[in-house]
Amino acid sequence: MFRATLKSLLARKLRLVLSGLAVILGVMFVSGALVLTDTLNRTFDSIFSDVYAATDVSVTAKPKVEVSEMDGEEVSAPLPASAVETIKTQAGVRSATGRVDADGARVIATDGKVLTSFGPPRIGSNWTGTDEMMEIRSGRGPEAPDEIALNATTAKLAGYAVGDRVPVLTQQPKREFTLVGIWGYTGGRDSISGVQEVAFTTPVAQELMLGEKDVFTSVTVAAADGVTPDQLRDRLAPVLGAGYEVKTGAQLSAEDSASLKEGMGFFNQILLGFAGVALFVGIFLILNTFSIVVAQRTRELALLRAIGASRRQVINSVLVEAVVVGMIASVLGLLAGIGAGAGLGALFSGMSGGMDLAPIGVPLSAVISSFTVGILVTVVAAVMPALRASRIAPVAAMQDVATPDRPLTKLTVAGTVVTAAGAAALGTGLFVASGDSALYLILGGVLVTFIGVALLTPLISRPVVSLLGRLFAWSVPGRLGRLNSGRNPRRTAITAAALMVGIALVTGVTVVMDSAKSSLKAEAARILKAQIMISGDQGGPRPPTYDPAVVDRAEAIPGVRAAAGLYNDLVAIGGERSYIAATEDLSRLAEAYGTTAAKLGADQIAVSAPEAAERNWQAGSQVSIQTSRGEAHTYTVSQVFTEDTLPGSIILPAEAIKGFGITQPVLGFIRLDDGVAVSAVLPQVKALVADSPEVSATDQQTFVDSQAAIFDQIITMIQILLGLAILIAVLGVINTLALSVLERTRELGLLRAVGLGRAQTMRMITVEAVVIAVFGALLGVAVGAGMGSAVARALKDDGITQIVLPWDRMGTYLALAALVGVIAAVLPAIRAARLNVLNAIAHD
């Protein structure tokens, strides 16, 4: 019996390859995601142990506003120079070095553009000599106020060599320095994980990066011989008191890596989410492939039964086959996954500017899940149809040529119940419930409806496929293709459902994003009266800024009615983090923005009505606000304004800006006198911001469009990621077709014998593929549009006021699906056309 199984396995190489491929892909996605996650985790660990390798103990002042990784870079509180002296005098201290280390030193490259960063900070620091990890590559450290050194990564990216003049943006407008030295790190590294670094002399670093004299961000303390870092920490902490944090290098490295991992956890979840989608689709593919393969083997199994094999033996033979296929495919899938993980890791490190990737490792979880997924799914997929096949009486099975399709009743009932449940949840969420419970009901409803529709696909496939097929029924091959696609509703449906999943998700996200985009545009057009905006692309955690002097100069341009700059900071109000804004003069901002407001006094703030309501503030309320730097200050609420009439919800006076993490404006609004053309003023404003290369001056429309561009970026990202799921589904179409061609060999022979040409045969197969693919896409677009609209509706309170169905994109998805069908048909069609007529007729 075992030998018969193996023989039949080998005799069916094509089927084996096709079913194996399905498993390989499914396993590849899961293991790839796990390998990548594991590698990145170990990479982060090693980065931070490197960063703190030369640090025994580090002292910082407690930050004024605690910030989590998701909110952006923390602004450390300044630490007075006197603290360094205090530390130096303590027992057990060999040396103490005051350090300035702050994000926001942006080098302007030789091409005039600011060096951007997708993640790693751009650090400005004070030069304190080299430690055991640093090595000078050329030149020396900065000694005069107009000298700087760069790390090799920065110098290379920007294209500078020692002796060049280098413009740098800091908390202050652009300033030029002479590059006197370039340094790197041990092991030939140009930087630690892609961080860009600029080193100034200490007073310059203090002035430019911290905005104050005689302050540091941290003190690096080296222990005297015989003193461990832990002992040193325990000695220093009580001396310095509660205002300081004293930590060992090991502690800091663990903390930083944990917080980065926490930030990356989100990324991991996305990755695993996509692996989940891929797996989901992969399971469809595996199930479908095996059910076809076993259905095709029904006659063979029946023959085995007829010559005396027991039911158990028949099922065992299929089981053995499934385990063999599952094992081999899992191993191959795991290998492919390791490759994919390594590739993605390299891509990731490239994107983040040369992060040194930890060696690729294979976590146990990847191995376990690979084999679980690979073997379990395969066995279940194979044994279910085999059980069914073994139940058919041998004689019936042997006579039965075309495998009969079972009635769809059970599936239909199940699908209807599930869909109804999903719809009910959705309806309740949309129209009855409110708040968070509504959101959960809607999201849950969407998911359940999704599954319900998938179950109903076979039923829907009948009318829809026959209708779709009509489009092609004008030619004989077209009609035959249409009939073939309607032949096994279950098979067609599962194949199409796999495609549906990916396309529905893409469409859903597109609907939500387009709705958000159009809501944003409509909103901006309604509230924004300024005709010219100064803004830049958000290229990293730190927003782009410009020279504050630009605002006054812009207002001086003839034809300008008002110009105002907007500053942002993350502050603590009553211990809670909150984003606030500030401007030079609220009355000017209001005028530029198209409304009126009084100037704020030094201790006054303006608050939007909803914000005031939420915080239970009225005009006259006293509020204590702790900005990123400086001391907490108590303000009086002097104005409560209507929502959206001014940018932001809490606006602070000009006096507060010096305590902000970033003391330069991030946005600018310029309103023109009535009748003045934008084109007359815009070039002059552009000239004003020429020295602030991070930002540009644009008209209102361009600004709104650029703000909305983020949504298009998200759509593109989702499209790429789900493209993988769609790719698997395409493989499913190829698989189904190839197996169908195999199954219908005799029919193809007959058709060819009675005069169907090769080209016509290919057309027939192509029509079948296109019908299946377009059916899947149609379903996907419909389900996706429904889900997307529901989610957009659920986000109404979050600013999505319009629901937009992107017909053009939905049309594109359909057209792409048709193309996918054509591509999927190529190989099976060639195979069908090449069939030898006589062999095909004699085929069994």
Binding site: V401, R752, A753, G755
Partner: protein, 255 residues
């Protein structure tokens, strides 16, 4: 020996055709220099023991297979030199097929199966001819049925109707009644004979059954890849006699 048509126009002709399968030890000579003519408007049966090359001969005549040596003509066209495209068109327009089984596409109704070659060619069935054929085959009330809803005999009749509908030069039938009981077989055979007698159709049929052969105008006997005998106006008895005679070893020696 060569089986020649007793005068009259020829619908299909084989001249010294050879067909060899495999090579070396496994080499099988399926046809060794067969020459035969099949007269227009005649019903010819090909008989012979299993493995004698009947199907091979028919496939070569019908352009389903290529010959290794010799030439095959359908009407005035030499088909041994045609490419796949031309052969496909030839089969579509000028040849009809009836196989032993699997004659019909399960997705198409009986009527659609009957018009399939015409549809592929983009031609319409002549309504009068349609009525005649359907009438003779006796399938009027079954036209909308799928093959799976028809009995084996009915399916073969549908196959006959399909072969006839395009009025091909020749219809080739390989054991068309092999899977049928004698009654349904008889129906199919009389129907084939009728189409020859009344409509001048040319039919070449491979069969094992002397009774089936007796419906033909002429029987050609094949053994070991060569034509060894032929019989005009056969009856079941004369066919059986000839078969018996050919089966005796002395005859094999004669070959």
């Amino acid at each position: 020996m060569a089986a020649t048509n007793a005068g009259g126009p020829v619908a299909a002709r084989a001249e010294e055709i050879w067909k060899v399968y495999g090579s070396g030890e496994a080499q099988v000579v399926a046809l060794r220099g067969v020459s035969a003519e099949f007269g227009r408007g005649r019903f010819t049966a090909i008989m012979g023991p299993s493995g004698s090359g009947k199907s091979t001969l028919m496939h070569c005549l019908a352009g389903l297979d290529t010959v290794d040596k010799g030439t095959v003509h359908i009407g005035g066209t030499e088909i041994s030199t045609l490419g796949d495209k031309a052969l496909t068109r030839l089969r579509r327009d000028r040849i009809g097929f009836i196989f032993q089984q699997f004659n019909l596409l399960p997705t198409l109704s009986a009527a659609e199966n009957i018009t399939l070659p015409l549809d592929i060619a983009g031609r319409k069935a002549d309504p009068q001819w349609w009525d005649t054929v359907i009438g003779t085959v006796g399938l009027k009330d079954r036209l909308r049925h799928r093959p799976s809803q028809l009995s084996g005999g009915q399916q073969q009749r549908v196959a006959c109707a399909r072969a006839l509908m395009g009025r091909p030069d020749v219809i080739f039938a390989d054991e068309p009644t092999g899977n049928l009981d004698s009654r349904s077989g008889g129906e199919v055979l009389s129907f084939l004979r009728q189409s020859v007698r009344e409509h001048g159709q040319t039919i070449v049929m491979v069969t094992h059954d002397p009774v089936a052969a007796s419906y033909a105008d002429r029987v050609v006997f094949l053994a070991d890849g060569s034509i060894v005998d032929e019989l005009a106006n056969p009856t079941a008895e004369t066919v059986l006699d000839t078969m018996k005679r050919l089966d005796t070893p002395s005859d094999s020696v004669m070959l």
